[in-house]
């Protein structure tokens, strides 16, 4: 018997004499994700954990009971790549290497401000341009972010939150979408290093191009490798050796267990697989608009991917006489087929919301993937257990299993139905009842992200 369960039982025993200390949902359909779905069963939540799950469970006397008749219990949804919880780190970078996006304003003072000294343009990799690899979402988290409630009401219980500005933007943390203090939100950290291919364009410092950004990342990983070796060598026997300089950029890279690399088009996916393999570090690709063309390649590479739920859309304010390229039409028609293609090929994938502003729109986007062939089960998995697995957290999150963190969403109706109501959300065992549907913020806000 694991320590955890023993602890839970002990806890239950003590609690028996006290007022109700847990919640039991009974008569509910339970989509466990880890195992078969229980058509009528019980989930008992206590002490922030799932205490018991099963079809025939006796419900202890010391818990509140919820009648789950007509309700379905899912694991809480995970947005695998997000800035929710990091209100000051909203994404500035497009997912793929588009010039000009995502310069870290945090480390480069605004040049327009009167009297502000302009940062000299970077002369090369040695100046560590666009790098805040040491930043950690766990340190940046703020429970005051209004999106926390919006998304929690829609069934999201956790996010993989990452700083997103710059080339080495920083380290992610898995945050729960509840808690009074930032520290309570953090489930795990660091998840990995969020990397973009942002460049300064034609008039800034290094790197000024896509290939410059790639070369920079390559140099940093080489430097990190060497830094690690030099530090180890020095630690072993400092005598007669010059002390290696402390480099916080490299420390940040070395602390990160995996690299998140941007790849939307098929060409970028192939390119980033090659690049990731070269970096000799576990890597995850994010974006994947054209993932439907690259499923086999991804399967071969064995790299997990995060699929953006912002499907490409027709430009709304385009020229009515302009005929789009076949490429653009094809991508738009086929992008929602990416998850199905990945599932068929056996590629590990999770979803991320990529700035889609409301949970309702997120679900709509998932439905598009289902319409394009993704099974409901795979869709649920992509938003729960797979996300946890990709970050190595499946031991505590992502399914309705005994002993896991009690992150649950209870719905009336299938998760992805248009009319589905979210009745309860549990985060760390804490129950939330989304009262009214939160109205969508004005659409303008969506565009500015």
């Amino acid at each position: 018997m694991s320590k955890l369960i023993r602890f839970a039982l002990l806890y239950a025993g003590i609690a028996a004499a006290a007022p109700p200390s847990g919640v039991a949902i009974r008569n509910a359909r339970i989509v466990t994700v880890a195992g078969p779905t229980i058509e009528k069963g019980v989930v008992i939540v206590r002490g922030g954990l799932i205490e018991q799950v099963g079809a025939d469970l006796s419900i202890p006397a010391d818990v509140w009971t919820i009648d789950g008749q007509g309700l379905t219990v899912y694991p809480g949804l995970i947005d695998a790549l997000s800035t929710i919880g990091l209100p000051d780190a909203a994404p500035a970078a497009a997912p793929a290497g588009r010039a000009g996006a995502g310069r870290p304003t945090a480390i480069a003072p605004a040049t327009g401000a009167p009297g502000a000294a302009a940062t000299p343009p970077a002369r090369g990799p040695e100046d560590r341009p666009s790098t805040t690899s040491w930043q950690n979402a766990a340190d940046l988290a703020q429970p005051t972010d209004r999106r926390i409630e919006t998304f929690r009401n829609g069934g999201f219980t956790s996010v993989g939150a990452f700083p997103m500005r710059g080339i080495f933007a920083g380290q992610g943390a898995l945050l729960n979408l509840a808690g009074d203090k930032a520290g309570q939100m953090v489930i795990a950290s660091p998840l990995g290093q969020y990397i973009t291919l942002a460049s300064s364009g034609f008039s800034g410092g290094f790197p000024g191009s896509l290939m410059g950004a790639i070369a920079y990342i390559r140099q940093v990983y080489i430097d990190a490798d060497q830094y690690k070796a030099a530090k180890a060598l020095y630690a072993k026997n400092p005598r007669g050796l010059t002390r290696p300089d402390y480099d916080r950029a490299l420390e940040g890279v070395l602390e990160s267990p995996r690299a998140l690399l941007p790849a939307s088009r098929a060409v970028e996916i192939a390119r980033m697989i090659r690049f990731g393999e070269e970096l000799k570090q576990p890597f995850i690709l994010y974006g994947l608009n054209e993932g439907y063309r690259s499923a086999d390649l991804l399967k071969q590479a064995g790299a997990p991917v995060l699929v953006s739920l912002k499907w490409p859309e027709k430009t709304r304010d385009g020229d009515p006489e302009e005929v789009e390229t076949l490429r653009a039409l094809e991508t738009r028609a086929s992008a929602p087929g990416t998850p199905a293609a990945l599932a068929r090929a056996g590629v590990m994938f999770a979803f991320y919301t990529d700035g889609v502003a409301t949970p309702r729109d997120v679900m709509k986007a998932v439905r598009k993937a289902i319409d394009a062939g993704l099974t409901q089960d795979d869709a649920v998995r992509a938003m729960t257990l797979s996300a946890a697995k990709i970050y190595g957290l499946e031991d505590r999150l992502g399914s309705v299993e005994k002993g896991k963190i009690a992150n649950l969403v209870v719905t009336k109706g299938d998760l992805f139905q248009d009319k589905t109501e979210v009745k309860y959300v549990f985060v760390d065992g804490q129950k939330f009842e989304p009262a009214e549907e939160t109205p969508a913020p004005p659409s303008r806000q969506r565009e500015t992200q």
Binding site: L210, M211, R218, A270, R274, K314, R327, P439
Partner: protein
């Protein structure tokens, strides 16, 4: 994975039947003209060329009666398929390489193919004195990025002289510029000398370290510098230098710098005033890859003459014509024809400017650049003599595979149009289906 591909590829090649091009006028470039000849292709290579060649059993036959076959053309200066061209932020950007950003789906690659170009050197731009690494590719339309790379081609780095490197950052910060050194041709020379001084130190540092390790001493490896590594390769003769230059003085300067540091310039790109220093170029065994007739678009191109290629050839310099342009590359044969007019080159000499000469310059002349047994079957079939301005490319083969066929162009286009129409219609239908649902939005609390 690479190995697996290689095996699969070779299996497929062995299984494929030989191909024979028959009844053609064959412009071999290096071995004269074969009238009414045949070319046998096996496993992607030219197996036999001649008038009396027997057609192997089961061979796939391409009848080229009345048509002309020449080697696939080679463009020694191109930027197609590169998703970025210039790392112009610094005056030494040898850490970057266009090989990292190839997009084999760039439609320009197909257009190159349709113009009879089969090999291209994809170069870094000329914004800085020491630019980035370049890559030689084949126009294997439909393959992925590793699939278009020309295996076995020498690694290359781009250098640049004159107006571009001095302009790209030369404006002082006070005047709203970047203030990037250098702003003069003097400064451009200095960038080279500084960089190669640094590279030599770097080379020595590694040598010292390697010796220490050999002696079993405790040593921390020197910092691996991706900027200096390619320059060391240049010093060690493992990487070609292709240097962008216009004026004779600046090219002469680089020749002297290369003498001083003991490396070689493989060829000058543009080299528009190469004709003024043909003697020095020939003595240094340095080639020129130039335009047929560009001039006057900037000051350093004011002395450019369309006789450049012919004069250089006559004076013993290895010379080729290049495009540096996604349109010009589509008729390199016509560009070659201009050297018959300007300087009186023979037809074979003219065609060598876009075939065997650039192959030599890129170090791929063992594989491509002429129609000879043993070489890659990279071939272009024209309906007329390729030096005629009326000649149209009919078929293009790379490694023996037909990659462009004008006869199939129309049906491919129709297919594309049909697919496009279907997608547009489907989207319209979906929109119509969705719009009646719109009133449902009223269900939302207002």
């Amino acid at each position: 994975m690479k190995h697996l591909c290689a095996i699969l590829f070779s299996v497929a090649a062995i299984a494929a039947p030989p191909t024979v091009i028959r009844n053609a006028t064959i412009l071999t470039i290096t071995k004269g003209v074969v009238k009414n000849g045949s070319i046998v292709i096996r496993d992607g290579k030219i197996a036999e060329v001649g008038e009396n060649v027997s057609v192997p059993e089961g061979a796939q036959v391409i009848d080229a009666a009345g048509q002309f076959v020449m080697p696939g053309m080679i463009d020694a200066h191109s930027h197609i398929t590169a998703e970025s061209v210039n790392e112009g932020s610094v005056s030494v950007s040898s850490m970057v390489g266009v090989d990292d950003v190839l997009n084999p789906e760039d439609i320009a690659l197909y257009r190159a193919l349709a113009g009879g170009v089969t090999t291209l050197s994809i170069m870094h731009g000329s914004a800085n004195a020491i630019g980035g690494k370049c890559i030689v590719i084949k126009a294997r339309w439909g393959k992925d990025a590793p699939g278009i790379v020309f295996e076995g081609a020498m690694p290359v780095i781009k250098f640049a002289l004159g107006e571009n490197p001095k302009r790209s950052g030369g404006t002082p910060v006070a005047q709203g510029g970047r203030g990037r050194y250098p702003a003069t041709r003097m400064g451009v020379e200095d960038v080279f000398r500084e960089a190669f001084t640094e590279a030599k130190n770097y080379q020595a540092e590694w040598r010292e370290y390697n010796e220490k390790i050999k002696r079993g001493e405790n040593a921390i490896a020197p910092h691996r510098d991706l900027k200096l590594e390619p320059l060391v390769e240049v010093l060690e003769g493992k990487r070609y230098v292709h240097a962008h230059g216009y004026r004779s003085d600046e090219m002469l300067m680089l020749l002297k710098v290369s003498d001083e540091f003991g490396f070689k310039i493989r060829f000058f790109v543009h080299g528009l005033e190469g004709y003024k220093i043909a003697k020095e170029l020939a003595a240094h065994d340095v080639g020129v890859s130039t335009f047929s007739d560009w001039w006057s678009y900037k000051v350093e191109a004011y002395d450019a003459i369309p006789y450049n290629a012919a004069l250089l050839m006559k004076k013993g310099v290895l010379v080729s014509l290049n495009s540096d342009d996604a349109e010009l590359m589509r008729h390199m044969n016509q560009e070659a024809a201009k050297t018959v007019k300007y300087g009186g080159l023979t037809e074979t000499e003219a065609l060598s400017l876009v075939t065997i000469n650039p192959a030599k310059q890129l170090g791929v002349d063992k594989q491509v650049g002429s129609i000879e047994a043993g070489k890659d079957a990279d071939l272009v079939i024209f309906d007329k003599h390729p030096l005629s301005n009326y000649a149209k490319v009919q078929k293009v083969l790379i490694d023996g595979t037909v990659y462009f066929d004008r006869d199939k162009e129309q049906s491919e286009l129709s297919k594309k149009d049909a697919r496009k129409k279907a997608l547009i219609d489907k989207e319209k239908q979906q929109q119509q289906q969705e719009s009646p649902r719109r009133p449902g939005a009223a269900r939302r609390p207002s």
